[in-house]
Amino acid sequence: MTGVYSGMPRWLLAVAAAGALFLIVPLTALVLRVDWSRFAELVTSDSSRAALLLSLQTSGTSTLLCVLFGVPMAYALARTRFRGQRVLRALVLLPLVLPPVVGGIALLYTFGRQGLLGESLRVLGVDIAFSTAAVVLAQTFVALPFLVLSLEGALRTAGTRYEAVAATLGAGPTTVLRRVSLPLVRPGIVSGAVLSFARALGEFGATLTFAGSLQGVTRTLPLEIYLQRETDPDAAVALSLVLVAVAVLVVAVAHRIHEGNAP
């Protein structure tokens, strides 16, 4: 590949470099600000450990829910045509561009104690308010569109030709889904799940508005960081670095799975 003419103007490279710096410098600044002498103590405190554990648990559960509901949604959007589909897709993807606080308020008036469904849920003995379930709901709400969006794209790219072949070979719709469609878009599902997990892990606004903040129950890592900032900025910085590390790890693992899966 060496010596192939790319036709790229030099100034483009300069602008690209400026953009890259804009993303990289703040992360560097964060790392530089870490008080390494107290780092271990800060990130292993009770509250930090509880927040990290809660974040991983809730994000994992949310990702599972995203896959469970997002795969059928993406499938329905990619493989069927019906009136109002474009409107429905826009609505489904809305949380992507919605400020998370707005999402939190919307959830509040749906699942909250005086919300649309909250009363009926309470009759059934389910009280979501201030529970870990509320955190999972908030995270799923903001993360689900990521999975739907990335998987719908993968399904459209994959097309229906393999599915048609499988059907003529005698495979019923469920068998086609299980043995052909899903394995073919596995990379799309994995990358969608990773995006969802990352979004759930970083979720702050909707959780704060809808779920509250209590150690070990609803106070996830981002909420803990925000609170620590009030009294101990060093702890906030140390926890931020932990969150960055988890994010990097997730992206790296996903990349490996993706690479390993590529033909």
């Binding site: 308010a129 509250g212 903040s213 106070r219």
Partner: protein, 251 residues
């Protein structure tokens, strides 16, 4: 190496900020007042009065959480007057040697129990918050209203089991006004500012967990800053503050 890099980065940032705003207090006729968000209503009135008395001078109010403001001032923000919601935050700034004069207490605030408008559950005291089925929301101990709530529990000997410890008064009020929670501990002035959505239920121990508001001039600020502080401490400033529910400091 690390330090040099850090200095370089901050130099870039300062340069970027400097090119956006003029920060010289002597020439621009603007007085920068950094005040706790809870002071919004009274300070807007005081600022108007100050501007009326000082033609050609305008007051720029920067209203935010006290610790956010302290962080900004320590990072070099052009504050001339600082009025946080508690003494501890003022001490952080003082410890950096950034105060032009010792701080003075100009107002007090007491906790109250915020409940849904009309108090449908009939909550009368701290004790009623311990009844089963009552969802109480507090501020986290890390923020001033949470520290005050902790003190109130200590004094009264009533221990609450909150369903959530929020990062700000606004979040506590939000949970109560939306019906998610039945009660929350906030300042009297917060209930006052929240409008009709919530009512306040006073309780005994509140008087023993009084929060004080300090004020001080910052850095090399000039006469306008001390004039503003005088106005706040003076009779008309105190009148405005008390009309919004703030208490007078003990002499």
């Amino acid at each position: 190496m690390t330090r040099r890099l850090r200095r370089l980065v901050s130099a870039v940032v300062v340069f970027a900020l400097a090119s956006c705003s003029n920060t010289d207090p002597a020439t621009d006729g603007v007085l920068n007042v950094y005040a706790a968000a809870s002071l919004q209503a009274p300070f807007e009135e005081i600022a108007a009065e100050f501007e009326a008395a000082h033609p050609g001078l305008s007051v720029q109010l920067n209203l935010a959480g006290s610790s956010d403001l302290a962080t900004q001032i320590i990072a070099g923000a052009p504050a001339e007057v600082f009025a946080p919601a508690n003494a501890a935050t003022m001490e952080q700034v003082a410890a950096e040697g950034l105060l032009a004069s010792p701080s003075k207490t100009f107002a007090t605030n007491v906790l109250t129990i915020a409940v849904a408008a009309g108090n449908p559950l009939g909550i009368e005291s701290l004790e009623s918050l311990t009844e089963p089925g009552i969802a109480t929301v507090l501020c986290a101990p890390q923020v001033p209203c949470g520290a005050a709530a902790a003190a109130a529990q200590e004094v009264s000997g009533v221990w609450l089991e909150p369903v959530s410890e929020e990062g700000s008064v606004t979040d506590v009020l939000g949970k109560v006004s939306s019906g998610q929670a039945d009660a929350g501990l906030v300042y009297v002035t917060d209930v006052d500012a929240a409008g009709g959505g919530v009512d306040g239920v006073p309780f005994d121990a509140a008087a023993q967990a009084v929060n004080t508001y300090p004020i001080a001039a910052v850095g090399s600020s000039g006469d306008p800053a001390s004039d503003f502080i005088d106005l706040v401490l003076g009779e008309s400033g105190q009148e405005i503050l008390s009309s919004h529910g703030f208490g007078k400091p003990a002499q």
